[in-house]
Subunit: 156 residues, 2 copies
DNA sequence: TAAGATTGAGGTTTCAATCTTA
DNA sequence: TAAGATTGAAACCTCAATCTTA
């Protein structure tokens, strides 16, 4: 293994640095997410439900095509159909057929769903402050966001 | 919703900035991971398998107690038992009873497992270079790693 | 009593096949 | 033909209960 940790590549960054830095991203993200999600479960809201409702409430009109939302939350088509079933059963979203293209069905936020996500966001912000902003500080948080934006834009 | 995006808190960071920055982390991480994992599947190696083998190959002696490794990869105890079953079935790891404390069983890397993870790491490094190092640059990658280390240490 | 590991039950997600509409 | 959505089967993970050893 030491071959991979010691080898240099084009005279600059070592493979070990690369693996270590990305490993820090993986671990740090996983551990923060675990804490944030535990706070969300105080709102009886599973992580996947939160992601779905959050994207709907941020969308003008509070509605999106099933396929598009599935792609945004990195779900398979079939998996998202069933997730939408469960969230709809709880009364947080509804399906509406798109009039202009009858293949697509929109998923829309109900009034109840909007209340639920607003309440959850209120708690989420408190949780983000203590678990992310406080340990990092404002300047580092902004740096972090910019770096991750660079990575996101590379793969969208 | 605009209430949460516009409100200020103790006169500094807006909630919207907080949500946006963390949202960038969530999205950026998810999209990069998706690409990295697609590359790993070219080695017939599921993401969880890679995490397990990677930690074993980096450990002196190539062995760890089940519980400790389960905790490191954020698995439940029962879930890790079954994951270890599958990886062992493929011949990449083996269970060995710990002689000094017969409650614990070590999970160890086989020769085949070491070959597999070494090969996967070789590909993984190439993938990390093009998907993470290249878009970010060395300085930003180090900054990113340090920030995520801060978050990780806050929750370990 | 408590810690490490396993098992079975239950819920969630993916994959492949299918149906409908463009 | 192709795209959007749904379905059933299989795989995976968690939770709670259980077993063994300290």
């Amino acid at each position: 293994l030491s071959r991979y940790f010691l080898a240099r590549y084009d005279g600059h960054v070592e493979n070990g640095d690369l693996i270590t830095n990305w490993g820090l991203v993986v671990e740090g993200f996983a551990r923060v997410q675990r804490v944030l999600q535990a706070d969300l479960e105080a709102c009886e809201l599973a992580p996947t439900w939160f992601e779905v409702l959050l994207r709907l409430v941020r969308t003008p009109g509070h509605r999106l095509p099933m396929t598009q939302l599935a792609d945004e939350v990195l779900f398979s088509s079939g998996g998202f159909t069933k997730l939408a079933d469960r969230i709809a059963e709880a009364g947080y979203v509804e399906r509406i057929g798109c009039p202009s293209d009858r293949r697509v069905t929109w998923i829309t936020l109900t009034d109840l769903g909007e209340k639920v996500i607003s309440n959850a966001l209120e708690r989420h912000v408190v949780s983000l402050r203590s678990n992310v902003l406080e340990p990092l500080g404002e300047a580092s948080l902004n740096q972090l966001g910019q770096h991750m934006r660079t990575l996101r834009d590379q793969h969208s």
